[in-house]
Symmetry: C2
Protein backbone atom coordinates (compact mmCIF):
# COMPACT_ATOMS: atom_id res chain seq x y z
CA UNK A 1 0.00 0.00 0.00
CA UNK A 2 2.69 2.47 1.10
CA UNK A 3 4.81 1.34 -1.87
CA UNK A 4 1.91 1.76 -4.29
CA UNK A 5 1.49 5.31 -2.95
CA UNK A 6 5.18 6.11 -3.59
CA UNK A 7 5.12 4.42 -7.01
CA UNK A 8 2.30 6.71 -8.11
CA UNK A 9 4.25 9.72 -6.93
CA UNK A 10 7.36 8.56 -8.79
CA UNK A 11 5.39 8.10 -12.01
CA UNK A 12 4.16 11.71 -11.66
CA UNK A 13 7.71 12.95 -10.96
CA UNK A 14 8.89 11.26 -14.17
CA UNK A 15 5.97 12.52 -16.25
CA UNK A 16 6.44 16.20 -15.35
CA UNK A 17 10.00 16.06 -16.71
CA UNK A 18 8.28 16.85 -20.02
CA UNK A 19 7.69 20.43 -18.85
CA UNK A 20 11.37 21.03 -19.69
CA UNK A 21 10.53 20.59 -23.39
CA UNK A 22 7.64 23.08 -23.51
CA UNK A 23 9.03 26.23 -25.11
CA UNK A 24 7.60 29.64 -24.30
CA UNK A 25 7.61 32.55 -26.72
CA UNK A 26 9.65 34.71 -24.35
CA UNK A 27 13.44 34.59 -24.45
CA UNK A 28 15.87 34.42 -21.52
CA UNK A 29 17.32 37.72 -20.31
CA UNK A 30 19.66 39.33 -22.84
CA UNK A 31 19.37 36.26 -25.01
CA UNK A 32 17.93 34.72 -28.15
CA UNK A 33 17.26 31.38 -26.49
CA UNK A 34 13.60 30.64 -25.67
CA UNK A 35 12.71 29.89 -22.09
CA UNK A 36 11.04 26.59 -21.26
CA UNK A 37 8.21 26.12 -18.78
CA UNK A 38 10.34 24.43 -16.09
CA UNK A 39 12.85 27.30 -16.11
CA UNK A 40 10.00 29.81 -16.07
CA UNK A 41 8.33 28.07 -13.12
CA UNK A 42 11.59 28.04 -11.16
CA UNK A 43 12.09 31.73 -11.83
CA UNK A 44 8.56 32.59 -10.65
CA UNK A 45 9.18 30.58 -7.46
CA UNK A 46 12.37 32.56 -6.81
CA UNK A 47 10.54 35.83 -7.51
CA UNK A 48 7.80 34.81 -5.08
CA UNK A 49 10.32 34.25 -2.29
CA UNK A 50 12.16 37.48 -3.03
CA UNK A 51 9.15 39.75 -3.63
CA UNK A 52 6.46 38.34 -1.29
CA UNK A 53 6.98 41.27 1.09
CA UNK A 54 5.48 43.59 -1.54
CA UNK A 55 2.13 41.81 -1.58
CA UNK A 56 -0.64 44.28 -0.71
CA UNK A 57 -2.43 41.66 1.39
CA UNK A 58 -1.09 38.92 3.68
CA UNK A 59 -0.42 35.76 1.68
CA UNK A 60 0.41 32.14 2.41
CA UNK A 61 3.80 31.96 0.64
CA UNK A 62 3.85 28.15 0.58
CA UNK A 63 0.56 28.14 -1.33
CA UNK A 64 1.80 30.76 -3.82
CA UNK A 65 4.92 28.64 -4.37
CA UNK A 66 2.81 25.55 -5.05
CA UNK A 67 0.77 27.60 -7.55
CA UNK A 68 3.70 28.95 -9.53
CA UNK A 69 5.55 25.62 -9.49
CA UNK A 70 2.58 23.69 -10.92
CA UNK A 71 0.71 26.38 -12.90
CA UNK A 72 2.08 25.37 -16.32
CA UNK A 73 2.15 21.58 -15.92
CA UNK A 74 -1.09 21.29 -17.93
CA UNK A 75 0.88 22.63 -20.91
CA UNK A 76 2.59 19.23 -21.19
CA UNK A 77 -0.62 18.14 -22.93
CA UNK A 78 -2.22 21.45 -23.90
CA UNK A 79 0.88 23.34 -25.10
CA UNK A 80 1.89 26.92 -24.35
CA UNK A 81 -0.51 29.67 -25.44
CA UNK A 82 1.09 33.05 -26.08
CA UNK A 83 -0.29 35.72 -23.75
CA UNK A 84 -1.17 37.92 -26.71
CA UNK A 85 -2.58 35.12 -28.88
CA UNK A 86 -5.59 36.48 -30.76
CA UNK A 87 -7.22 33.16 -31.73
CA UNK A 88 -7.06 31.32 -28.44
CA UNK A 89 -7.90 32.32 -24.89
CA UNK A 90 -4.99 31.84 -22.55
CA UNK A 91 -6.71 30.33 -19.54
CA UNK A 92 -9.04 27.61 -18.41
CA UNK A 93 -9.63 25.82 -21.66
CA UNK A 94 -11.29 22.38 -21.74
CA UNK A 95 -8.00 21.06 -23.06
CA UNK A 96 -6.18 22.30 -19.96
CA UNK A 97 -8.76 20.79 -17.61
CA UNK A 98 -8.37 17.41 -19.30
CA UNK A 99 -4.61 17.76 -19.00
CA UNK A 100 -4.86 18.59 -15.30
CA UNK A 101 -7.00 15.53 -14.68
CA UNK A 102 -4.66 13.23 -16.58
CA UNK A 103 -1.34 14.49 -15.23
CA UNK A 104 -2.24 15.29 -11.61
CA UNK A 105 -4.36 12.11 -11.75
CA UNK A 106 -1.12 10.09 -11.77
CA UNK A 107 -0.75 11.02 -8.07
CA UNK A 108 -2.50 9.27 -5.16
CA UNK A 109 -6.15 10.45 -5.08
CA UNK A 110 -6.02 12.97 -2.22
CA UNK A 111 -2.88 14.57 -3.61
CA UNK A 112 -4.30 14.67 -7.14
CA UNK A 113 -7.37 16.48 -5.83
CA UNK A 114 -5.21 18.96 -3.90
CA UNK A 115 -3.09 19.78 -6.97
CA UNK A 116 -6.10 20.19 -9.26
CA UNK A 117 -7.69 22.52 -6.69
CA UNK A 118 -4.51 24.62 -6.42
CA UNK A 119 -4.23 24.85 -10.21
CA UNK A 120 -7.90 25.93 -10.50
CA UNK A 121 -7.45 28.48 -7.72
CA UNK A 122 -4.55 29.97 -9.66
CA UNK A 123 -6.53 30.03 -12.90
CA UNK A 124 -9.54 31.67 -11.22
CA UNK A 125 -7.28 34.39 -9.81
CA UNK A 126 -9.64 35.36 -7.00
CA UNK A 127 -7.75 34.59 -3.78
CA UNK A 128 -4.87 36.80 -2.60
CA UNK A 129 -2.44 33.93 -3.26
CA UNK A 130 -3.67 33.54 -6.85
CA UNK A 131 -3.49 37.30 -7.42
CA UNK A 132 0.11 37.42 -6.24
CA UNK A 133 1.07 34.30 -8.24
CA UNK A 134 -0.43 35.86 -11.36
CA UNK A 135 1.40 39.11 -10.76
CA UNK A 136 4.68 37.14 -10.77
CA UNK A 137 3.60 35.38 -13.99
CA UNK A 138 3.06 38.76 -15.66
CA UNK A 139 6.12 40.47 -14.19
CA UNK A 140 8.82 37.99 -15.35
CA UNK A 141 8.22 38.37 -19.13
CA UNK A 142 7.94 42.15 -18.68
CA UNK A 143 11.44 42.15 -17.19
CA UNK A 144 12.61 39.85 -20.01
CA UNK A 145 11.14 41.98 -22.80
CA UNK A 146 12.55 45.21 -21.41
CA UNK A 147 15.96 43.49 -21.08
CA UNK A 148 15.68 42.13 -24.62
CA UNK A 149 15.19 45.40 -26.42
CA UNK A 150 11.45 44.81 -26.88
CA UNK A 151 11.59 41.02 -27.19
CA UNK A 152 8.25 39.42 -28.07
CA UNK A 153 6.51 42.84 -28.16
CA UNK A 154 8.46 43.81 -31.26
CA UNK A 155 8.69 40.27 -32.63
CA UNK A 156 4.90 39.82 -32.61
CA UNK A 157 4.01 43.47 -33.05
CA UNK A 158 2.08 43.77 -29.77
CA UNK A 159 0.83 47.33 -29.20
CA UNK A 160 1.23 49.33 -25.99
CA UNK A 161 -2.41 49.17 -24.95
CA UNK A 162 -2.54 45.38 -25.15
CA UNK A 163 0.61 45.07 -23.07
CA UNK A 164 -0.71 47.61 -20.56
CA UNK A 165 -4.06 45.83 -20.22
CA UNK A 166 -2.48 42.41 -19.65
CA UNK A 167 0.23 43.66 -17.31
CA UNK A 168 -2.25 45.59 -15.18
CA UNK A 169 -3.00 42.28 -13.42
CA UNK A 170 0.25 42.91 -11.53
CA UNK A 171 -1.63 45.59 -9.60
CA UNK A 172 -4.01 43.00 -8.15
CA UNK A 173 -1.07 41.48 -6.28
CA UNK A 174 1.16 44.42 -5.47
CA UNK A 175 0.85 48.18 -5.87
CA UNK A 176 4.59 48.61 -5.32
CA UNK A 177 5.54 46.19 -8.09
CA UNK A 178 2.86 47.63 -10.37
CA UNK A 179 4.19 51.17 -9.93
CA UNK A 180 7.61 49.92 -10.98
CA UNK A 181 6.16 47.84 -13.85
CA UNK A 182 3.97 50.67 -15.16
CA UNK A 183 7.04 52.86 -15.26
CA UNK A 184 8.96 50.23 -17.23
CA UNK A 185 6.12 50.00 -19.76
CA UNK A 186 5.99 53.76 -20.24
CA UNK A 187 9.77 54.02 -20.53
CA UNK A 188 9.63 51.30 -23.18
CA UNK A 189 7.42 53.55 -25.32
CA UNK A 190 9.94 56.40 -24.92
CA UNK A 191 12.74 54.02 -25.94
CA UNK A 192 10.79 52.90 -29.03
CA UNK A 193 10.71 49.22 -28.02
CA UNK A 194 6.94 49.33 -27.46
CA UNK A 195 4.65 51.04 -29.99
CA UNK A 196 1.67 53.20 -29.02
CA UNK B 1 14.20 53.91 -0.13
CA UNK B 2 11.36 51.47 -0.97
CA UNK B 3 12.30 51.77 -4.66
CA UNK B 4 15.98 51.13 -3.95
CA UNK B 5 14.92 47.98 -2.10
CA UNK B 6 12.89 46.73 -5.09
CA UNK B 7 15.66 47.70 -7.55
CA UNK B 8 18.12 45.50 -5.68
CA UNK B 9 15.67 42.62 -5.78
CA UNK B 10 15.12 43.08 -9.51
CA UNK B 11 18.88 43.07 -10.16
CA UNK B 12 19.08 39.73 -8.27
CA UNK B 13 16.12 38.34 -10.25
CA UNK B 14 17.89 39.23 -13.50
CA UNK B 15 21.26 37.84 -12.37
CA UNK B 16 19.93 34.39 -11.43
CA UNK B 17 18.62 33.92 -14.98
CA UNK B 18 22.17 32.64 -15.62
CA UNK B 19 21.34 29.44 -13.72
CA UNK B 20 19.50 28.35 -16.89
CA UNK B 21 22.85 28.10 -18.67
CA UNK B 22 24.62 25.93 -16.08
CA UNK B 23 24.61 22.40 -17.51
CA UNK B 24 24.62 19.37 -15.23
CA UNK B 25 26.17 16.05 -16.18
CA UNK B 26 22.85 14.23 -15.76
CA UNK B 27 20.44 13.96 -18.68
CA UNK B 28 16.67 14.50 -18.70
CA UNK B 29 14.49 11.40 -18.34
CA UNK B 30 14.71 9.09 -21.36
CA UNK B 31 16.81 11.69 -23.13
CA UNK B 32 20.24 12.67 -24.34
CA UNK B 33 19.74 16.33 -23.49
CA UNK B 34 21.60 17.56 -20.39
CA UNK B 35 19.58 19.11 -17.61
CA UNK B 36 20.37 22.64 -16.51
CA UNK B 37 20.42 23.86 -12.91
CA UNK B 38 17.17 25.85 -13.13
CA UNK B 39 15.26 22.83 -14.46
CA UNK B 40 16.88 20.65 -11.79
CA UNK B 41 15.92 23.09 -9.03
CA UNK B 42 12.32 23.22 -10.23
CA UNK B 43 12.15 19.44 -10.28
CA UNK B 44 13.50 19.18 -6.73
CA UNK B 45 10.89 21.71 -5.58
CA UNK B 46 8.13 19.62 -7.16
CA UNK B 47 9.55 16.46 -5.56
CA UNK B 48 9.61 18.21 -2.19
CA UNK B 49 5.93 19.09 -2.42
CA UNK B 50 4.98 15.62 -3.61
CA UNK B 51 7.19 13.56 -1.28
CA UNK B 52 7.34 15.64 1.93
CA UNK B 53 4.94 13.22 3.64
CA UNK B 54 7.70 10.57 3.56
CA UNK B 55 10.10 12.61 5.70
CA UNK B 56 11.03 10.64 8.82
CA UNK B 57 10.87 13.79 10.94
CA UNK B 58 8.52 16.79 10.84
CA UNK B 59 9.88 19.42 8.42
CA UNK B 60 9.12 23.02 7.53
CA UNK B 61 8.23 22.52 3.84
CA UNK B 62 8.60 26.22 3.00
CA UNK B 63 12.19 26.14 4.26
CA UNK B 64 13.00 22.98 2.28
CA UNK B 65 11.55 24.65 -0.82
CA UNK B 66 13.74 27.71 -0.31
CA UNK B 67 16.76 25.40 0.06
CA UNK B 68 16.19 23.40 -3.11
CA UNK B 69 15.26 26.49 -5.14
CA UNK B 70 18.46 28.36 -4.23
CA UNK B 71 20.92 25.51 -3.52
CA UNK B 72 22.68 25.66 -6.91
CA UNK B 73 22.67 29.44 -7.49
CA UNK B 74 26.34 29.61 -6.39
CA UNK B 75 27.15 27.53 -9.48
CA UNK B 76 26.55 30.63 -11.63
CA UNK B 77 30.06 31.64 -10.54
CA UNK B 78 31.54 28.36 -9.28
CA UNK B 79 30.23 25.98 -11.97
CA UNK B 80 28.67 22.54 -11.53
CA UNK B 81 30.82 19.87 -9.88
CA UNK B 82 29.93 16.30 -10.80
CA UNK B 83 28.82 14.28 -7.74
CA UNK B 84 31.42 11.62 -8.51
CA UNK B 85 34.24 14.03 -9.39
CA UNK B 86 37.51 12.61 -8.06
CA UNK B 87 39.60 15.79 -8.15
CA UNK B 88 37.21 18.26 -6.54
CA UNK B 89 35.03 18.07 -3.46
CA UNK B 90 31.41 18.77 -4.24
CA UNK B 91 30.42 21.01 -1.37
CA UNK B 92 31.35 24.08 0.56
CA UNK B 93 34.33 25.25 -1.43
CA UNK B 94 35.78 28.73 -0.93
CA UNK B 95 34.73 29.44 -4.51
CA UNK B 96 31.09 28.68 -3.63
CA UNK B 97 31.17 30.88 -0.54
CA UNK B 98 32.50 33.80 -2.58
CA UNK B 99 29.77 33.17 -5.14
CA UNK B 100 27.09 33.13 -2.44
CA UNK B 101 28.32 36.43 -1.07
CA UNK B 102 28.43 38.08 -4.50
CA UNK B 103 25.11 36.81 -5.87
CA UNK B 104 22.91 36.86 -2.74
CA UNK B 105 24.71 40.11 -1.90
CA UNK B 106 22.78 41.78 -4.72
CA UNK B 107 19.68 41.60 -2.50
CA UNK B 108 18.82 44.05 0.30
CA UNK B 109 21.05 43.26 3.32
CA UNK B 110 18.59 41.37 5.56
CA UNK B 111 17.41 39.22 2.64
CA UNK B 112 20.98 38.55 1.49
CA UNK B 113 21.85 37.33 4.98
CA UNK B 114 18.76 35.11 5.09
CA UNK B 115 19.58 33.49 1.73
CA UNK B 116 23.24 32.90 2.62
CA UNK B 117 22.15 31.30 5.91
CA UNK B 118 19.66 29.01 4.13
CA UNK B 119 22.29 28.01 1.57
CA UNK B 120 24.82 27.23 4.34
CA UNK B 121 22.21 25.26 6.29
CA UNK B 122 21.61 23.14 3.18
CA UNK B 123 25.34 22.62 2.63
CA UNK B 124 25.90 21.63 6.28
CA UNK B 125 23.12 19.05 6.03
CA UNK B 126 22.47 18.89 9.76
CA UNK B 127 18.88 20.13 10.22
CA UNK B 128 15.91 17.96 9.26
CA UNK B 129 15.07 20.39 6.44
CA UNK B 130 18.60 20.16 5.03
CA UNK B 131 18.56 16.36 5.29
CA UNK B 132 15.30 16.14 3.36
CA UNK B 133 16.45 18.68 0.75
CA UNK B 134 19.65 16.69 0.22
CA UNK B 135 17.69 13.46 -0.12
CA UNK B 136 15.72 15.08 -2.97
CA UNK B 137 19.00 16.24 -4.57
CA UNK B 138 20.30 12.66 -4.52
CA UNK B 139 17.03 11.02 -5.55
CA UNK B 140 16.36 12.93 -8.79
CA UNK B 141 19.54 11.85 -10.66
CA UNK B 142 19.04 8.28 -9.40
CA UNK B 143 15.62 8.26 -11.08
CA UNK B 144 17.17 9.82 -14.20
CA UNK B 145 20.03 7.32 -14.45
CA UNK B 146 17.75 4.31 -13.96
CA UNK B 147 15.42 5.74 -16.65
CA UNK B 148 18.39 6.38 -18.95
CA UNK B 149 19.78 2.88 -19.05
CA UNK B 150 22.62 3.70 -16.67
CA UNK B 151 23.09 7.32 -17.74
CA UNK B 152 26.11 9.00 -16.14
CA UNK B 153 27.01 5.81 -14.19
CA UNK B 154 27.97 4.06 -17.40
CA UNK B 155 29.15 7.22 -19.16
CA UNK B 156 31.67 8.02 -16.41
CA UNK B 157 32.26 4.45 -15.27
CA UNK B 158 31.04 5.01 -11.70
CA UNK B 159 31.10 1.77 -9.68
CA UNK B 160 28.24 0.42 -7.55
CA UNK B 161 29.87 1.13 -4.18
CA UNK B 162 30.48 4.79 -4.99
CA UNK B 163 26.87 5.22 -6.10
CA UNK B 164 25.62 3.38 -3.03
CA UNK B 165 27.73 5.50 -0.65
CA UNK B 166 26.59 8.80 -2.19
CA UNK B 167 22.93 7.80 -2.46
CA UNK B 168 22.78 6.60 1.13
CA UNK B 169 22.28 10.25 2.13
CA UNK B 170 18.67 9.71 1.01
CA UNK B 171 18.20 7.65 4.20
CA UNK B 172 18.93 10.70 6.37
CA UNK B 173 15.74 12.29 5.03
CA UNK B 174 13.38 9.38 4.47
CA UNK B 175 13.55 5.66 5.23
CA UNK B 176 10.64 5.01 2.86
CA UNK B 177 12.31 6.72 -0.09
CA UNK B 178 15.66 5.10 0.77
CA UNK B 179 14.13 1.62 0.77
CA UNK B 180 12.77 2.30 -2.70
CA UNK B 181 16.06 3.88 -3.87
CA UNK B 182 18.22 1.06 -2.49
CA UNK B 183 16.08 -1.40 -4.39
CA UNK B 184 16.53 0.60 -7.62
CA UNK B 185 20.31 0.58 -7.14
CA UNK B 186 20.42 -3.18 -6.57
CA UNK B 187 18.12 -3.83 -9.53
CA UNK B 188 20.45 -1.71 -11.66
CA UNK B 189 23.29 -4.13 -10.90
CA UNK B 190 21.08 -7.05 -11.95
CA UNK B 191 20.22 -5.20 -15.17
CA UNK B 192 23.91 -4.56 -15.90
CA UNK B 193 23.53 -0.76 -15.95
CA UNK B 194 25.60 -0.41 -12.75
CA UNK B 195 28.85 -2.39 -12.28
CA UNK B 196 29.89 -4.02 -9.00
Amino acid sequence: MQTDHLLKQVSFIKEIDKLKYIQRKTKLFNSDRQENDAEHSWHLAMMTIVLAEHSDKPIDILKVLKMVLIHDIVEIDAGDTFLYDVAKNHTNTDEELLAAKRIFGLLPTAQAEEFIAIWKEFEDGITEEAKFAKSMDRFEPLLQNTSNNGGTWLEFNVPYQKVYDKKKAIKNGSTTIWNYAENLINESVDKGILKK
